[in-house]
Symmetry: C2
Subunit: 429 residues, 2 copies
């Protein structure tokens, strides 16, 4: 054995030794404290473990609770009965039953885009990014692929593959100056970034639009955390903020979070049929014989219908009300924003114990700490949904304060301080 | 623009220019001749297009027709009603409803393995192969990753990612000599290969087992085309042929073909809980919050139940009878094998026109030709299923012969020739 070759890896774009080495410690500690590896049955919005512990999940991304909407479940069942199969197994480029086409037409109308479906946003990105890297989407010029350093791992995971088709670099978070420099140096640049990220931030869509207009830059957004939850008819953060609506902007979004179903949508504009065929035939797993199944299609058609009614803005409003209610109790960096995610600061030493106490009190919030986030920025991540009751939120906030969360400043109505800053008459007109 | 940098890609492991350049011509010609891009409703095993053309699909991988089994559809519906959601959106490493665990327990019992589920075999491979490359599955030593040159694109697509964690090479199809050479040179080798491939062949499982025993080689099989269709309780080709059943053998298989549902199963042996946790936490998309949905889980539980009854061997027998019936009419290189796929040889010049005539006569078979296969090896690919009727197969074969397929030698009973080769008495004992 000893005279046989050992291998030294390049580790240009990834390093499992490091990821597993540091990440596993995080997960092991979470699990030892009962905050990972939890199995529970869901009933009427409450989870119940095998030993009878009941808790409300405050780390579920179904922000509008459409996942348990009776019409969504009925839609899934209707599609199963209509098509009589979960899938007719053959690549859709050869023969397909109309399920995916009906879904794509419906979502296309809903979001005002050309829509291509995928089984997950990760599969969509793994399929599309290498085709962008090789210049087959866009104008045919191979772009420098610039990945935002904070982009989701399902995007960053495509770096080595893209690097075999073009050059790849990683830039600072939302580093517009670096992007402009690259646009000046390279014939074409593609920026890969979360439209809405899992720790509560949004991409600078309009500033990126200016670079797109000036230099022809492509932007690839993953807007999974804001689709449905944000914007008219749930169009999401990116498309609510005036992105360049032509082949230079590509947005993927999961249907598994606020949309409430399963699968993903790729939102395109200005692509010719020939390019759509290239996607269908060459975008990795988008071409294999494993598409969204008919249950997911039927559920998604039903959810799309709900998006067309007044129920959607009503659900969005309930979610926003719940976010505001939370903000009146607990101060976070996200206070006052529309994003349904809050990270309640804790110290690296207390975060696990705090999470455990909150769980014992009947609420699951997810502890995030080094190495998942930088040292000194640990916290309990809270995701607010339309379906949470006022009572649940108030009780959660009370427990969070008990375990060390910072109380929000008193409300204007209750605050004597506010009298001093009352608006002068001229400004109030 | 002209003074800005253009990029020259490395193209060490992939080349979209080449893949799209040559592949797109194949697809365009198929589509112009009406043999790709077909949309049709499925009813009682017959497909019907918008203009009323009816045809039987002979390129569907649901080899046992379990996809349309009433119990499978009912299982999907029962799970939707029971769980009340398609998915409770949160990474399963944190909190999960019991759906996936029940499925994995059932499939584990069925196949006699530790089973981890995934939304597709492609997602499973994209997640697992980089962890194998970095030595996190197996014995911790970073292996040389040897990809079979014919392995499915969902395996080959992982080469650039694996190459950032270790060394990667491509070997000739089933080149055991090369593999042994590499085993002598490197501390550890992992061979990546289809257990059963989409043009009708099987991996040399026993010969590979000998190398595994001698050198500790890992083998990563994709056995998607034979799971359910082959072996006791549908265990598939690989596990029917005595592979090494410990951490050195990893098999993935889709649940979307003969199994009849949606999703995929990873079959493992001898892995400790700590390693299973590493898979759950770090194997790419296996860790994201998009698992098999509850409809797919319920359908798969129902299909697993069918696998435990006498119905499974009966369906396998019907499929084999259909394969034999086909073989009595048409001669192919696959004649006499158990594999449900046949490639009926045609010339590069006639294959498309032949496929079109077969389609017009009411049968879809898929033309394969350069660049999908080598020049001079074009043909019409036929997939036989348990649900095809004798009448459908006989009619298909008659049309295939009309368009130039080679007729099989007459059957023994009908063949005067055979009298001369009748078995001598001693051999017949």
């Amino acid at each position: 054995m000893s005279d046989r070759k050992a291998i030294t890896p390049p580790h240009l774009y990834r390093n499992n030794d490091k990821a597993v080495g540091v990440g596993n410690a995080f997960w092991d500690m979470s699990e030892r404290n009962g905050l990972a590896g939890i199995v529970a049955e869901l009933q009427d919005g409450v989870l119940r473990t095998g030993v009878g512990h009941e808790f409300v999940n405050f780390t579920c991304c179904s922000y509008l609770d459409l996942d348990s909407h009776p019409k969504v479940i009925d839609g899934a069942i209707a599609a199963l009965r209509r098509f009589g199969v979960l899938d007719h197994c053959i690549p859709r480029s050869r023969v397909q039953i109309p399920a995916l086409l009906e879904l794509e037409a419906s979502l296309g109308e809903l979001f005002g885009a050309t829509v291509v479906s995928a089984i997950s946003a990760g599969v969509a990105s793994a399929g599309l990014l290498p085709l962008i890297a090789s210049g087959h989407l866009g104008n045919g010029i191979r772009p420098l692929m610039v990945f935002d350093k904070n982009c989701h791992v399902s995007l960053a995971g495509a770096k080595p593959t893209c690097a075999d088709e073009t050059e790849v670099v990683t830039c600072g978070h939302h580093d517009l100056g670096f992007l402009e420099d690259m646009c000046k140096q390279y014939q074409r640049v593609c920026y890969v970034v979360d439209g809405s990220d899992s720790l509560g931030g949004y991409a600078p869509v309009q500033e990126l639009g200016a670079l797109q207009e000036k230099y022809g830059m492509l932007v690839y957004y993953d807007d999974s955390h804001s689709i449905s939850a944000y914007g008219e008819r749930g169009i999401g953060y990116v498309r609510s903020h005036g992105p360049v609506l032509d082949e230079r902007t590509i947005t993927v979004a999961t249907l598994n979070k606020a949309f409430g179903t399963s699968g993903a949508a790729i939102l395109l504009d200005g692509y010719q049929k020939t390019t759509l065929r290239v996607i269908e035939r060459f975008a990795g797993a988008l071409c294999y014989s494993q598409p969204m199944n008919t249950a997911a299609v039927g559920a998604s058609l039903a959810s799309a219908e709900i998006h067309r009614t007044e129920e959607l803005p009503a659900l969005q409003q309930r979610m926003r009300d719940n976010i505001e209610l939370f903000d009146t109790h607990i101060k976070t960096e996200q206070t006052g924003t529309t994003y349904p995610i809050r990270v309640v600061p804790m110290t690296d030493e207390t975060v696990i114990e705090s999470g455990r106490r909150v769980y014992e009190a009947g609420f699951y919030v997810s502890p995030v700490f080094f190495p998942i986030v930088a040292r000194g920025t640990a916290g309990l991540r809270v995701m607010l949904r339309a379906g949470h009751t006022d009572e649940q939120i108030r009780r959660l906030c009370a427990v969070l304060i008990e375990v060390g969360a910072q109380q929000a400043a008193p409300l204007p109505e209750e605050a004597p301080l506010l009298e001093e800053t009352a608006m002068p008459e001229e400004a109030a007109r």
